[in-house]
């Protein structure tokens, strides 16, 4: 592999993975904060307002990190992937520019009002500013997903004389069926992160015995919403996304499942280590016929394996793709189990005294981040060897004028910078958690 290509791929993968740790919480919390603000408006209970303010402070820190790590993403299409930008800019420039015009302006304008304007605004107006931030962040998500969906399943384009692709149908681009499933699945995933973080901090307060009233609000909100979204994540959104793969990227599906040979009544592999050279799975734990059912809704249906496709269409990194997919699905299943049990205990009125369950909620905090990251790795590794599926290979899209040495220089720079940002983030958030939801200080603002 050309080393500049490798550096450019690592560059994007590193910066986008770090970046997405923040927007997933931004989008998830934006929704939960609107719920808390709505409850506050309805019940006139000050606890909900304090809860909303507490999460707004976390949101503010998180949002800054999301913005500063997001700007490099838009730049990198041009800096490190200029041949791709020249090729596809006529189409995906549309969705990326729309994100700026419709989502960023909305978010940035109302974020200041939402974070610092509570005293200047009426409660209802402040509620509206929270809604505007929520709409802005979720719109932003849609435009990014529509961009990625076009790279997974290009629609609404035509080839121009110079070989580039140009927009031929705006509505096909915006209503890409792939985008809708991916969006639903992704946003539900972001909501899960928000719910687990909220429930986790709430459970921490309950175990600590401090801010108990607020802790109960956090746990209740996080568990009820978390249960809904954990289930939505599997069905229908995960299922729908999978069916898109069956139709449009069957080779990706085979690689995710490490199904080397096509067969009727294909089994589902739960655990096992794929050996690509020997085309088999070591130490497999399998459930017979389930893959056929999930794919075609028939137990004996034939599922195409990797052997049904020429090798130059296989994703290059099958083991990593296989693990990403299995980690995502495995964690998603565990999330459903945790949330259903927690909801049952909540319903029976026992959750706040079940210390073992509160401990599980506290410790579950990092896992939605891992699952969301693994999900994105599945999507992007699964798209390989294509940059735009079927139209442009990844090896043709990077910036040929930028040497590997220059790329490495900025990659290392970003690593150093992001390490500092990550430490700062943890430091500031830990501080907010310790200070708690009841404002005992002038918050420094």
């Amino acid at each position: 592999m050309d080393s500049a290509l490798l550096v450019d791929r690592l560059h994007f993968a590193f910066t986008v993975t770090f970046h997405y740790l923040f927007p997933q919480l931004t989008m998830g919390l934006a929704l939960l904060i609107v719920i808390l603000k709505t409850l506050a408006l309805r019940t006139h209970d000050e606890v909900y307002n304090q809860a909303a303010r507490f999460w707004a402070r976390i949101f503010g820190i998180n949002f800054v990190l999301g913005v500063v790590t997001g700007i490099p993403m838009e730049f990198q299409f041009g800096t490190n992937w200029s041949h791709f930008s020249r090729f596809a800019g006529g189409v995906i420039g549309q969705t990326l520019a729309m994100e700026g015009m419709f989502a960023f302006f909305l978010e940035s304008a109302f974020l200041g009002l939402f974070l610092y304007g509570e005293k200047r605004l009426s409660p209802r107006a402040h509620w509206w500013s929270a809604v505007a931030v929520f709409v802005g962040s979720w719109l932003s998500g849609y435009f990014i997903i529509a961009t990625d969906a076009w790279m997974q399943y290009p629609v609404g384009y035509e080839r121009a004389a110079d070989g580039s692709v140009q927009l031929s149908s705006f509505w096909e681009l915006v209503w890409n069926p792939w985008a809708w499933w991916q969006y639903a699945h992704n946003m539900s995933g972001a909501a899960i992160t928000g719910c687990f973080v909220m429930a986790s901090i709430g459970a921490f307060y309950l175990l600590w015995g401090k801010f108990v009233e607020h802790g109960q609000v956090f746990v209740r909100t996080g568990v009820i919403a978390g249960c809904i979204f954990s289930i939505l994540q599997l069905y229908p959104t995960g299922d729908g996304q999978g069916l898109m793969l069956v139709k449009h990227q069957p080779v990706t599906l085979a690689a995710m499942e490490a199904l080397f040979e096509g067969q009727p009544g294909a089994p589902l592999v739960i655990i096992g280590q794929p050996d690509v050279n020997a085309r088999k799975i070591d130490n497999p734990l399998i459930v017979p016929k389930v893959l056929s059912f999930l794919t075609y809704r028939r137990w004996s249906a034939r599922v195409e394996g990797l052997d049904g496709f020429p090798k130059d269409l296989w994703p290059q990194n099958i083991p990593l793709l296989y693990y990403s997919y299995h980690i995502m699905v495995g964690l998603g299943t565990i999330f459903i189990a945790i949330m259903v049990v927690a909801l049952f205990l909540l319903w029976r009125g026992k959750l706040f005294d079940s210390r073992w369950m509160l401990w599980i909620l506290v410790l579950s905090l990092p896992f939605p981040y891992i699952a969301n990251t693994a999900g994105w790795m599945t999507a992007e590794l699964g798209r390989q060897p294509w940059l735009v599926y079927g139209l442009m290979r990844t090896a043709d899209g990077y910036s040929k004028t930028v040497s590997a040495g220059n790329g490495m220089f900025t990659l290392l720079g970003f690593m150093g910078m992001y390490m500092v940002l990550g430490i700062l983030f943890l430091f500031l958030v830990r501080r907010e958690i310790e200070l708690g939801p009841v404002a005992t200080r002038n918050t420094g603002h």
Binding site: V67, E74, G90, A109, T401, M417
Partner: protein, 346 residues
């Protein structure tokens, strides 16, 4: 259609420089004008609710550039690789300087972020000026429409220049002085007392330098790139632009001396807008001149996206722009008037 999008991108970039320019400038004078903890908080408070929105103009302009002129976006972003990445790092440092400073009430912590914020603001102003200098001077484009510029070569203006040569360093300094004036005038409009007075005094110092540099820049640019005058010769009405430049400079100095705060700030806005419009007018229809061979230059015609995309884009762009303007009017009205510390925030 291509011309229309050229105007749109130019307007968005101008909006960015005028808007984010004042908070960059406020950062540049921050350490000098803001002496006490309260004064620094006032400066931050004056830009706090708006700086992020101002910066979105850069992102939105970048997105619009990507969509309307993909070839220009691809070759300029990869060609200006290193300085762009450094701009990104500075934007990050500056953002956390503004936003994270207030989270911990500790003079050491805050002193650290004060310096980060101010130095990043100063460097960004210089970088943006140098970037504009590069676009005017031209870059070593190859026949494929790509180039790569190191940070510096021999500091001379030639067919294979670096990002920094004596000309682009000069434009960087002009940008710094201009934005310092601009930011100081903004701080003047938002504050009272000593801080207000000190910011006004800063302008008394920077504005004359700005006049001298502007007078210097015009002939120097003509020497570096003689064809900048072509459009002015073809369309003599263009001569209005330099007139606006000097009228607004005069207005700026006069209103600052008379303590007409809003008028002085608006004059500075007009000066910046006129300078940028003058540059865009001189370049058109070229968007990235080649220093190697003029036929390699990128123009609005050989770098634009397909016709259908440009037509469709116009519809949603207008809708988005109306919404964005509405938000800006709303937010600037909400936070209008002089800054008071007791209102909360920063």
């Amino acid at each position: 259609m291509e011309t229309l999008w050229f105007i749109v991108v130019a307007v968005m970039l101008t909006a960015y420089v005028v808007l984010d320019g004042f908070d960059l400038g406020a950062g540049a004078i921050y350490l000098v004008v803001g002496r006490t903890h309260e004064e620094r908080r006032k400066i931050l408070r004056s830009i706090g609710p708006v700086w992020d929105g101002n910066e979105v103009w850069l992102l939105a302009a970048g997105g619009t550039l990507y969509f309307a002129f993909p070839q220009l976006y691809a070759s300029s972003f990869s060609g200006f690789y290193l300085p762009l990445m450094m701009v990104l790092w500075l934007l990050m440092l500056r953002a956390i300087g503004i936003e994270f400073r207030t989270h911990v009430e500790n003079p050491v912590w805050q002193g650290f972020y004060d310096v980060i914020f101010s130095v990043a603001s100063i460097l960004l102003a210089i970088f943006f000026g140098a970037a504009l200098g590069n676009v005017i001077r031209g870059v070593p484009l190859g026949p494929e429409g790509y180039f790569f510029e190191p940070l510096w070569t021999n500091w001379r203006v030639g067919p294979h220049p670096g990002i920094l040569d004596w000309y682009t360093v000069m434009t960087g300094v002009i940008a710094l002085v201009t934005l310092t004036t601009h930011g100081a005038l903004y701080v003047v409009t938002k504050t009272e007392g000593d801080l207000n007075l000190r910011a006004r005094k800063a302008v008394l110092l920077t504005a004359p330098i700005q006049v001298l540099l502007t007078l210097l820049a015009i002939p120097v640019t003509y020497v570096v790139k003689p064809d900048v005058m072509d459009n002015y010769r073809a369309h003599p009405a263009g001569i209005l632009i330099p007139l606006v430049v000097f009228a607004s400079l005069g207005m700026l100095m006069w209103s600052n001396a008379k303590a007409k705060e809003t008028a002085a700030f608006l004059a500075s806005c007009a000066y910046i807008a006129a300078m940028l419009v003058g540059a865009a007018f001189a370049l058109y229809p070229v968007v990235l001149p080649a220093s190697t061979n003029p036929s390699y230059s990128l123009t609005i015609y050989n770098s634009a996206a397909g016709h259908h995309g440009l037509v469709v884009g116009l519809i949603w762009w207008c809708m988005g722009a109306v919404l964005a303007l509405a938000y800006f009017v709303f937010v600037f009205r909400m936070f209008r008037g002089k800054v008071r510390l007791e209102d909360g925030g920063y």
